[in-house]
């Protein structure tokens, strides 16, 4: 058991693993989806697969914001960066994500003003320091990140900063889960719910999954013991024929979420009628657009956005991997044309993308184990 000894409380981990073995019916195959990309990263990093019996399969969900963004949105954002007055800003995670015409970093190399920010606050501050330029913030993220963008837009309006706008690619997690449950090729038994998204939205938005779909949901923390305990809680529910939303991560996630964050979200953003997700297609009411009251700070209202639709390179199977239909290494390009050094798809860029996580930990392990 790799890593177990460096875990805090190795004895408890071992006991929890034994409990999992005891609870899992050997005649049954379990498909548990971890929704959040942070969980995906942790699962590979800690080798949690090796701790679980083979009939418990972990399916990686759509919770990596960089990974689910269709290529066209990147091209749209970068088209705005072509305007000579524009300073294009984005989180570091975005910089190596390829659009059809290259990554933000490559645009920078071609002489466009592309800069990394670590907080949307700093994009606004940049605008205040450069009143002669227009600072565009390429916003990505689920409900964990969107409230920060909302507060920055409120501040931009309050302080009357006219040379700042947000290109919103914020998405919401619940409709993506619904799309996965509605997809005919998916069969999920239960969900490991996202930890940090839930600090904002709380546990109630998942209740329909248990009530209407009969699938257990456990909101989980990110430590190895957290995730193993969440598996125990899910197995208990499945064994007893219960389907409920349970909160394993109570120390950080309040049942009702964060009211201040939800209020800011509702004031600044509204749901788009539909939005395209890589791999999942168009999902209704699944993304956030800036409200008309903040229209002056909305890049999509201020500028002519090309609205390009680009399909992924034909051989790339990001969509199937995102839906959990294929494992990362089953993609035709994995480890060959597509590597972390030269990524074809976004799942190979972000540390939360399942291809990058698989490549860093599992694949190297397999390669190392193969005699030359």
């Amino acid at each position: 058991m790799r890593f177990v000894d460096e875990f805090r409380d190795a004895a408890t981990i071992r006991r929890t693993c034994e409990e999992i073995r005891r609870l899992a019916d050997p005649a049954r195959h379990y498909r548990l989806m971890e929704v959040c990309g942070g969980h995906t990263h942790a699962i590979y990093r800690f080798g949690l697969r090796d701790l679980l019996p083979p009939n418990i399969e972990l399916i990686h969900g759509p919770g990596c914001p960089v990974c689910v963004l269709p290529m066209g949105r990147i091209d749209d954002g970068l088209a705005l960066a072509d305007r000579p007055d524009v300073i294009f800003t984005a989180f570091g995670d975005m910089m190596r994500v390829p659009g059809a015409h290259g990554t933000p970093l490559e645009h920078k190399a071609r002489g466009k003003d592309v800069r990394i920010v670590y907080s949307p606050t700093d994009a606004l501050a940049l605008a205040q320091r450069h009143p002669d330029r227009h600072v565009l913030f390429f916003a990505i993220g689920f409900e964990t990140t969107a409230p920060s963008t909302a507060l920055v837009l409120q501040r931009a309006r309050a302080e009357g900063v006219g040379n700042f706008s947000v290109f919103s690619n914020h998405v919401t997690i619940i409709p993506a889960i619904r799309a996965i449950l509605d997809s005919p090729d998916m069969r999920i038994d239960a969900f490991i719910g996202p930890g940090h998204v839930s600090t904002v939205i709380g546990c109630r938005p998942y209740e329909w999954i248990a009530r209407d779909e009969g699938k257990p949901v456990v909101i989980s923390g990110f430590e190895p013991l957290d995730m193993l305990q969440s598996v125990v809680m899910l197995l208990h529910q499945l064994r007893e024929g219960r389907a409920e939303v349970e909160n394993q991560y109570k120390r950080v996630v309040p049942w009702d979420g964060n009211r201040a964050a939800l209020t800011a979200l509702a004031e600044v953003f509204e749901l788009r009628p539909f939005f395209e997700w890589r791999g999942l297609g168009f999902i209704s009411q699944s993304a956030l657009a800036v409200r008309a009251t903040y229209g002056a700070w909305d890049a999509e209202r201020r500028f002519e956005v090309p609205g390009v639709r680009v399909t992924d390179p034909r051989a790339a199977q990001c969509g199937e991997v995102l839906k959990g239909v294929l494992k990362p290494h089953q993609c035709r390009l994995f480890g060959k044309e597509c590597t972390p050094e030269r990524p074809v798809g976004a799942l190979m860029v972000s540390s939360e993308g399942s291809c990058a996580a698989y490549h860093s930990y599992e694949y190297r392990k397999t390669v190392a184990a193969t005699p030359a």
Partner: protein, 100 residues
């Protein structure tokens, strides 16, 4: 980027409402407390930080565990890069960077 960074509030900014000075492994940066407006933390409180905003209050023990988790995930350095980057508007143009 969904992994949050633990920090200790050491001071409040007297010039700006809801901005705190937070220390993460010896590095001090300004962090926005606006998302915790319903239960505003103060100096001596630990918070989880995400993209420059405090997103929840945590205990000192939980903060310790979170740092350990980041180390175990190999994310501690990029977390510190993120914290150091707050307030610099861009990491790639040091002429512009304003350590605040």
């Amino acid at each position: 980027m969904c992994l949050a960074i633990p920090g200790l509030i050491v001071d409040l900014d007297v010039r700006l409402p809801r901005i705190a000075v937070v220390e993460v492994s010896g590095v001090r940066r300004r962090v926005d407390l606006g998302l915790l407006a319903d239960d505003m933390p103060g100096p001596g409180d630990w918070v989880l930080i995400h993209v420059g905003f405090a997103m929840s209050r945590i205990s000192a023990a939980e903060a310790d565990e979170q740092m350990r988790l980041l180390r175990m995930l190999g994310e501690d350095e990029s977390a510190m890069d993120e914290v150091r980057g707050y307030g610099s508007a861009q990491a790639d143009d040091p002429g512009e960077a304003q350590p605040r």
